[in-house]
Symmetry: C2
Subunit: 173 residues, 2 copies
């Protein structure tokens, strides 16, 4: 981090002597992506009262998969099965999901969103989307599309090139 940032988000750039414009852009990208991640992480605790961080993700996965087992969730998000088990228990207590015994294999509990769960998930999703819309309000459409394209390109690369130290990084999600 080579940057000072005021509470207003103003950024002071310092360009080293031998640096090319491209290097400088890379650094800015790194810094700003990190800022975003930190901010996101920092506000994780002030999540929707009903829906913790992981809970939201799990609900989203249930919505899109149309129901799956706890083991599937654990594998998909690289979480321990005990962690998922407790999360699932909490979500069930909150009436956001329900369990149905798989008739084929009685060891398996297939998890499904309840109506309430679907509604809460939609609410939270909508409120996230609203926040993004506000922040991106007034951007020219061309900029929005290029920004989206860049992010896709970046993430596609990141998926294949995890931060180095260990190979397990590939299990990120």
């Amino acid at each position: 981090m080579t940057t000072a940032r005021g509470s207003d988000g103003t950024v002071v750039e310092e360009r080293g002597a031998g640096e090319s414009a491209a290097d400088s852009a890379v650094e800015t990208i790194q810094r700003e992506m990190t800022v975003f991640a930190r901010r996101a992480r920092a506000s994780a605790g002030r999540m929707h009262p009903q829906l913790s961080l992981v809970s939201y993700t799990l609900l989203g996965h249930l919505e899109e998969s149309g129901g799956c087992s706890a083991t599937d969730l654990a594998a998909h998000y690289a979480l321990d099965k005990s962690t998922v088990s407790r999360q699932v228990a909490a979500l069930e207590r909150a009436d956001l999901i329900e369990r149905r015994l798989d008739p084929e294999d009685h060891r398996v509990q297939v998890l499904h969103l309840t109506e309430v769960g679907r509604r809460i998930l939609a609410q939270v999703t909508e409120s996230r989307r609203q926040a993004f819309r506000e922040r991106l309000a007034g951007w020219p459409e061309g900029d929005l599309e290029r920004f989206a394209t860049y992010l896709l390109r970046y993430n596609a690369a990141a998926a294949v090139m995890p931060i180095r130290p260990s190979a397990e990084a590939a299990t990120v999600d």
Copy 2:
């Protein structure tokens, strides 16, 4: 760009009849920023065993500020002073920072990086920068600069937008 499938499969894209291309771009941006945040969070612990994401951030702030108080850190990162106090204690135990009593005001402990701290921070920063360089390798310079600009613009907006409990928070994933 309406179809973006990260390996995580977080969000189902539903493009309603009345939705513009700009709306679609906003959704893609939201999804991809979230993917990035999750990946960053998940891999944070792997970048350097010695340095958690928060620790890394705090060290970085000390480096760029040239020394500041624990209260400054807490305010800047919206952390509780007790949290910072404990983080600082750990960093001091690890010999990465040192405290110097402010001669002007004996209540204040000005925190400074030690040589070791500076070295470790540089190492981690370099390894992160390398990862970013790899992911951005081959991008045309114009794209890099636009991407950097967009991120700056986005984060500036995010910094100003009121943090509503169920908006920004939900962003994390």
